[in-house]
Each structure stands twice: as structure tokens, then as C-alpha cells.
Amino acid sequence: MFKHRLIAFAVATVVGVFASPARAAEDDLKELREQVRQLKESYEKRIEALEKRLSQAEQSAGKAEVAATNAQASASQAAAQASPRTSSESAFNPGISLIVNGTYGNLKRDPAAYRISGFAPTGGEVALPGRGLSLGESELVMSANIDSYFRGTLIAALAPDNGVSVEEGYIQTLGLSNGFTVKAGRFRSSVGYLNEIHPHAWDFTDASLVNKVFLGNHLAEDGVQVKWVAPTDLYMDLGFEAGRGRTFPGGPAGGRSKNGVGSGVLFAHLGGDIGASTAWRVGLSHLRTSAQDRTYEDLDSTGAGVTNSFTGRSRLMVMDGVLKWAPNGNASQTSFKLQGEYFRRSESGSLAYDTTAASLGTQADAYASRQSGYYGQAVYQFMPRWRAGYRYDRLSAGTTSIGQVNSGALTAADFPILNAYNPTRNTFMVDWSPSEFSRLRLQFARDRSQPGIADNQVFLQYIMSLGAHGAHKF
């Protein structure tokens, strides 16, 4: 019995010994599972709670975002509405822009000796930019509406030699209807096409030869202009200018002390579109003025410097045309511009030789001339920012009749600058405009403005504009 018990005990012990860890492990496992389950449950609960909170947060964030957007919108609205309303005096300051330009010139001939042969010197700013580095004329432009009837503009030219001149200063009407505009003051005349364009908007560094010899670079009279635009879909304008005659081809410089009108211009333009890609304008203008004692310097046959002067009437007729093309009228990639002008002038009156009696003595006699000239130019924008252009200039000295020479009192050698000659010039340029406010240009010209002399002129130029965004004429 005891033996049985013992065996049973032993077995039980053995079994127990072997079984108890197994049971314990089972319990642990159960416990673990339970813990894991609890953990899982709690995490699930927590995740659920977190998700709930997250979505709530998201919702409120969205709301905040919407609120922020609204706030931003209203802030920007407020800013947009508030910004023009600065309550300082400067709020009504005119729009100011400044144009600065400079050149590097490399010329074969000394530009100080530059003449355009066959044509009486104009006394205007026809000189070439100098050799080496030089600052060009800076322009200070101020303009604003004066009231609802008038607009005012002042353009001061700051010359590199420290002089300041009023390039333009005019008022123009805003309040007239039926296509009428009146300008008064000093302004660039509507004679021709290039004359009205400011030098910083030119496609070449310098003016065409016709503008140099017939208008003294540019014509800006003190005067009044009346212009009428026709009520048609085809653009048509007619106008006239009455001026003082203060610059070439009028004269003397500054104008005469005389009541009435010293010079007059009549002009008419037609313009329109050809499809969406092409726009054009043609013009016809006529300038009449009478010069009194319009002087110029020359070297006579003895080699002495003499001052001659012209008194008489001057008539100038100009035909101009411009055509601009861009694919679909969108000039941001490529564009093309063709431009040309033809000038024809007749002058008659008397020419006084050596007015200061510095050489052979003062002699006055009849004078008459018929002269003409033209230029044509093409500018192609071959990729954004880059343009290349070519210009051809040709002047025809035509016929000049000098009384002193006809009568044999003097010889043609006493008026060397008036000797018949047909100047020509070929000009090439490439320019790069990093933005619409800056431009760098390289120009090469082969200039045959004087007999037997071919001048090679290279200019590297920058033109930059600061301040108010200018609007450019077509």
C-alpha cells in the first residue's frame, strides 16, 4: 500500500515537477495574452481617441485655415484699399522716372571733326558720342494729371557737361471730346516718326542722318499743337502746330523777338491693323518756318574760320511709315519692326558770307537749295530679350544755288560744307534687354558723311530707366 502510495507520490512528484512549469507557462501565456488584449484594446481606444482628436484638430485647422484665408483676403483687401491712401503730401507727387545712359565709343576718326557734308550745319546735338567711356544725357521725367482737364509733363535733360536743359515741358488737355487734344509748351514736334520718340526708346544709339541734317537731331518747339482723331475704326489724325521757331530750321537760336508765329507744322497720320499680327502707321507732315540770321561756321578758301548766316524761308516735307509684326500680336518671343522716313526740304532767301568780317569781308546774296534724304531700318527680335537691327541712311545734297558763287564774287571753295555730296551710312546693332527697364546695345556704323572718309564707329551703350513705368508711343 505504502509502496503504491510512494510510487504514486513519486509519479505525482515527477509529474508535478515536470507538469508544474508547464502549467505555470500556460498561466503566464494566458496572462500575457490577456495583457496583450488589454493593451490592444487600450491602444485601440487610445488610437480611436487620438484619431478623433486628430480629425477634430484637422477640422479646426481647416476652419483656422479658412479663417486665415479670409483674414488674409480681408487683410490684402484692406492693404489694397489702404495703400493708395497715404495721408501725406507726397501722395500726389507726379510720376517720376529717370533715364540714365552711357556709351563706350571706338571711332576711327575724331568725332570732334564730324561733319555731314553738303548740308548746312544745324547747331543741334548732331555730334557723335565721344571716344572712350562717356556718360550720355540723363533724362528726368515728371508727369501727372493736373486735374480732370489737364495733364502736365516735364522732361529735363541733364547733360554730361553739367548743363541742364528743358527737353520738353508741356500741358495737354484731357477734358476735350470729339477726338481733340491740345498741347501747349515745349514738346517734340509731330513732324516725321522718329522725332516724337525719345532717344532712350530709339532702336539705334544715334539719330538717323535725315533727323540730324533736317531737324538738328530733333525738333522741339515752344508752341501749341491741336490734334484731332477721326471717329473711324481706321486710325486717322490731323493736326497742326504753331511754334516760336526757336531752333533749326528756324532761327536764330532761341527764336526771334517777334509777335505771331515763327514756325508751323501740319501733319496727318493713318494707321490700323492687318489681322492680329501686324500694325502699321503712315504719316505725312509739312514744316514751314522762316529763319533770320541762322548762322553756321565754315572754313573758307583761305582756310579762315568764317561765320555765315541764312535768312529766308524753309519748307520741309516728311513722309514716314512704320510697320510692326509679331506672331498673333504677341511680341514676347519674336517680333519685327520696319521703319522708314523720307525728307525733302527747300530753302530760299539770302546767305551772308563772313558776317564777322574775319576773312574776305561780309557779302550777302541770294541762296536757294533743294535737298532730300531718307533712311530705312529693320529690327528683328529673334528670341526673348535679344534684337538685331540694320539701318541704311542716305542723303542727297540736291541742288544748291549760292549767289556769290554764281556771280563769281566767291568760289564754291569758300562754302566747302555746302559742296554737293551724298552722304551714306550703314548701321548694324544688337541689343539685349534683361528686363523692360534695361538695355545693353552694341552698334557698328560705317559712316560716309564726308567725301573720301569712311568712318568706322563702334558704340557699346547702356540705357536704363528707373522709377515710374513709362508708356511708349507706337
Partner: protein, 302 residues
């Protein structure tokens, strides 16, 4: 003899009398979207002409003779304002000899005055590119802005043409619910675009992006108004490799080259957007403009 003279005089008189009756309001719109809106609101009461097309960059227009001629005869000039037309519109004011359309008169309507402008720069400096002091001027690509401008424009039309005031009010009353319904539809259809990053060419899509809840991930122009440069494109390619955008868009008036380059380097789909009325075959009017813009974006953003 006498009856003929009488007949001629009678005809001339009838022609003179008939003139005011057929004379409609002449509207010159600076941009096609305002021409389309003016046509919606004025119908046959106005001759509407747009100064620019959808294929032209509204920043780079010249005061061509034809535009001066149109401005001369205009009773109302409808423009965006905010300096968008600063390079050419001032010349139309000074050259046209038309007192009616001068700023400050009822004949000059500036759409951007009637909406909240975004991206108003805090500081102004030209080194930042072609920025507009009054904020981003391309307001028409948020259709809610169109609704606001429509209301103001209908009021202005009634002011300058009182005999037809009722007609303008009625046309606005017909347009507004149609437009509101269309906005709801576009918002529903475009819900998928919410949050989608987009690369633009110029910052001319900002109002659309804001309305749709999209995100501007970059601009092909290094600075507003300056053409894309190789260095800037290379940087964009790198940026797109890190955080790819869903779509690259460019407007009908801009060159597709930069967008094509970025798309080919990154595999991000690109699409042309009409930008304004007339920019694509489907964008025939304002409804078509948004239908097509949304359709093209949805097709590109998968």
C-alpha cells in the same frame, strides 16, 4: 424735281433720326474676359471690342493706332487695372481726345477695384521683377470675382446708358444665378484638385489656385515678367525631384518650351490653359473658359 429733293431730304432726315436709335454703347475692353462679360451683360445694347486677344500678353501691348481709334469712339473702357495695362493704356487716355473714358469718369471701369486682390507686395522694388503695387492683377480666374465685377459693371452700364438701365439689370439678374450654379458645379467637379501642387509659368493663375485650394509649387519664371532661365529651370527640376508637383501649367499666350522642358525632365504632366476667353477652342465665353480650364486640369491630374 421737287419730289426728288424732298425724298432725298426726307431720307437724310430719317437717317439722322435713325442714328440715335441704332447707336449702341461702344465698349472697349482691355482684355477678352471683360469683353465677354460686357457682352453677357449688354447683349445687343453694345458694340464690344477687345483690345487684346488671349494669345497676347496683356503686359506687353503697344498703343497701336487701331487701339487709339477704338478708344476715341468708346463710351466705356473696361480694364483690369492694378497697373496691368500701365505700358499702353495711359497713351490711349492722352491720345484719344475722349473725355468720357478718362480715369475718374464713369466711362472708365477698373475691374480690380471691386475684388480683394491677393499677393499685394509688402515692399516694392524693381529687383523683384514685374510686380504690381496693387496686387496680382489677374483677378478673373476666380469666378467669384467675375460675379462681383458683373454686378459693378451692370451698374456702370446702367449709369452711362440710362435708357437701357432696366435691360442691364435684367441681364445681370439672368446671368448671376447661372453663374452661381456654374461655380457650384465647378467646385464640385474640381474637389479632386484640392491640395494638388501645381507649377505655373507666370503668376497669372494665383486666383484660380486659391479658389480651387490648389498649391503653387513653383513658377517657371524666375521673377514675375522675366523669361525662364536655364539655371532657374535646373533648380526647378531638382525641386520637383524632391517634391513633385501634380501638374505643370502654362497659359495660351506664353511659350510652352519651359513647361515642356520641365515636364520631360521630371515626368510631371503638363497642360496648356486658355487663361482667358479665346485661349482655346472650348473657351468661347466665360463659362467655356472655366469648363475648359477645369477639364484640362482634371485630365492632367490623375
Amino acid at each position: 424735281m421737287r419730289p426728288i429733293i424732298l425724298r432725298v431730304l426726307g431720307l437724310a432726315g430719317a437717317a439722322l433720326l435713325a442714328l440715335p436709335a441704332v447707336a449702341a454703347v461702344n465698349i472697349l475692353a482691355c482684355e477678352p474676359e471683360w469683353a465677354a462679360l460686357a457682352s453677357e451683360l449688354a447683349g445687343d445694347k453694345a458694340n464690344v471690342h477687345s483690345a487684346t486677344t488671349a494669345l497676347q500678353d496683356p503686359h506687353r501691348i503697344e498703343a497701336r493706332p487701331s487701339l487709339i481709334a477704338r478708344a476715341r469712339s468708346a463710351d466705356l473702357v473696361v480694364c483690369t487695372g492694378s497697373d496691368l495695362e500701365v505700358g499702353w493704356l495711359p497713351l490711349l487716355f492722352t491720345q484719344s481726345g475722349n473725355a468720357k473714358i478718362q480715369p475718374g469718369r464713369p466711362g472708365y471701369f477698373e475691374a480690380s477695384q471691386f475684388v480683394a486682390r491677393i499677393e499685394v507686395p509688402r515692399t516694392l522694388d524693381r529687383s523683384m521683377g514685374d510686380i504690381h503695387p496693387g496686387g496680382n492683377p489677374h483677378i478673373h480666374l476666380d469666378p467669384r470675382n467675375i460675379a462681383k465685377v458683373a454686378e459693378a459693371l451692370a451698374g456702370r452700364l446702367a449709369e452711362i446708358d440710362p435708357p437701357n438701365a432696366q435691360a442691364y439689370r435684367e441681364r445681370l439678374a439672368a446671368f448671376t444665378p447661372r453663374w452661381r450654379a456654374a461655380i457650384e458645379r465647378w467646385e464640385r467637379e474640381g474637389a479632386r484638385l484640392k491640395g494638388a501642387p501645381v507649377v505655373v509659368y507666370h503668376k497669372d493663375m494665383s486666383y484660380f489656385i486659391g479658389w480651387m485650394g490648389m498649391r503653387e509649387a513653383g513658377s517657371l519664371e524666375p521673377k514675375p515678367g522675366l523669361p525662364a532661365t536655364p539655371a532657374h529651370l535646373a533648380e526647378l527640376v531638382e525641386r520637383m525631384k524632391r517634391e513633385p508637383a501634380k501638374v505643370i501649367v502654362y497659359s495660351a499666350y506664353t511659350s510652352p518650351k519651359a513647361a515642356e522642358f520641365l515636364s520631360s525632365r521630371t515626368g510631371i504632366p503638363m497642360t496648356m490653359l486658355p487663361f482667358t476667353v479665346g485661349g482655346s477652342d472650348k473657351a468661347k465665353d466665360l463659362f467655356g473658359l472655366f469648363d475648359d480650364t477645369l477639364g484640362r486640369l482634371l485630365a492632367a491630374v490623375k
